[in-house]
Amino acid sequence: MIKTSATIAGVHFKNPIVMASGTFGFGREYGKLYDVSLLGGISGKGLTLHAKAGNPGVRVYETASGMLNSVGLENPGVEAFLAKELPYWETLDTARIVNLGGNTLPDYVLGAELIQRDADARLLTGKKAVDMIELNISCPNVKEGGIAFGVKTPAARDVVRAVRAATSLPLAVKLSPNAEDIAEMAEMCEAEGADAVSLINTISGMKIDVRRRRSVFNNLYAGLSGPAIKPVALRMVHQVARRVTIPVIGMGGITTATDIIEFIMAGATVIQVGTYNFMNLRAGSTLTEELQQFMAEENISSLDEIRGIV
């Protein structure tokens, strides 16, 4: 029997494959293509307190081995999510993670309070609730908030502290590779009571349309994801995993079972799959099978055997 499960702050992940925020909607669409309950978890589309229309203009551009996106956190807002999407999540047998963004510090706090209140009410009536909040302080595509909170540790500390005080739900903080010092950032999160850190978010990048002599994106810069960023992500996960005692959720360009194993060997407890969902709409089911197969071939009976061994 091969063991792929892991636990973070009491939340059970049946396997290390979690779908990354912004690439999986709230799971409904992929749920029509395969059974998403076979996943370890789902991190839903990044939410802000109020609904957001996202960015105008071009929102995606392919690059060598990667993809730039400038969606700009289009989302229905926390309340609409709780009312319309959570009933679907209740039907799933997988870890339910809400990714929470914000424009201002009070927005983050109010968002976290709404989620907490909803979880309390659900648990009282025996219903399934959100299992974890993933705090997004690192979206490069929104002008206010987003990455501004994720670059400098003191600014990030204010947000993490305030949200930690607002919720007792397990809290992961999603870190930006654009942070001045990502390991210091992770240590701060641990000190402020975060239960995990997830990394990396997209890397700020750019594409210029040379004929029109302008950036293809209205916001000039966009977030780079996909296999192109995997070496950077792996290095950062390795660095951070050595500096904190809380679990690390690793992500960045994972497209194969061996990619997953690399992140686990670098020290990740679970991993997230993002851009690969667009390359293979059945990524979750493909990777689940491949991981079992790879572990059997390599005589790995539990991911615990190899976690952080490099």
Binding site: G25, V58, V60, A64
Partner: protein
């Protein structure tokens, strides 16, 4: 997996791809196609040109790396098809005009088969293609090369008008509908939008369309929208 039956070059960068496989589909729906490994990263959305006995036909224009690879496919080659996706054109009754611009004629061929008494208007900037295939399906066929095909369409003469073509053409169709509405005629004008997509199923929000009632998804809520719903920003 699907198999290429034929992949005929029709003209300057325009190809007609016939595949065996897929799950059929309705007018205006599309498939995500992939005939390569990891790169390019994204699959390519192509609208259904027609549903054949064993699979689906596509008509596409080579514009980048993905369609370049598609153009190199030979009979017997395999490719991945995901779909059909999207909300296409409605089944309607009454007098119908099908108006296509350039590669925008692609989804209208299937419409012409499903709505056989339609008037068909096909516009091309340089050279025409597939017009002979449309001719026997049309009550009346109008072809224009180098002009503006919408100028030939009397919006007041139809109950329903299906439009697919470049962005300026869709915007012009919307304006034309507004103009004809002032004279008391209210044809239902349906626009098929072409947007960049990443997933094709409604999860990534890359293909978001500004509509009167908020942001909608070209891939799932569309690609076909009623003209009056869409807000064109440029």
């Amino acid at each position: 997996m699907a198999t290429v039956i034929s992949n005929e070059r029709l003209g300057d960068g325009v190809y007609h791809l016939v595949v065996e496989g897929g799950n059929g589909g309705a007018m205006g729906q599309f498939y995500m196609l992939r005939a390569w490994g990891a790169y390019p990263l994204l699959s390519r959305p192509l609208s259904i040109h027609q549903v054949n006995d064993n699979g689906v036909d596509f008509l596409y224009h080579v514009v980048g790396e993905g369609t370049e690879i598609l153009a190199g496919l030979n009979p017997g080659d395999s490719l991945e098809l995901e779909g059909p996706f999207g909300t296409g054109f409605p089944k309607v009754e009454g007098k119908v005009a099908l108006v296509g611009g350039g590669i925008g004629i692609a989804p209208l061929y299937y419409c012409a088969q499903e709505l056989p008494d339609s008037d068909i208007y096909l516009g091309f900037s340089r050279e025409s293609f597939r017009t002979d295939a449309f001719r026997p399906l049309a009550a009346e066929l109008t072809v224009d090369v180098g002009g503006l095909i919408l100028d030939s369409v009397d919006f007041a003469a139809y109950d329903h008008i299906f439009v697919c073509g470049p962005h300026p053409m869709l915007k012009a169709a919307q304006l034309k509908r507004i103009a004809v509405e002032t004279s008391g005629k209210r044809p239902n004008v349906y626009l098929s939008l072409e947007n960049r997509m990443a997933c094709g199923i409604g999860a990534c929000l890359v293909c978001s369309v500004s509509c009167k009632d908020g942001q909608r998804k070209a891939c799932a809520d569309g690609p076909v929208f009623l003209a009056e719903e869409v807000l064109f920003h440029d």
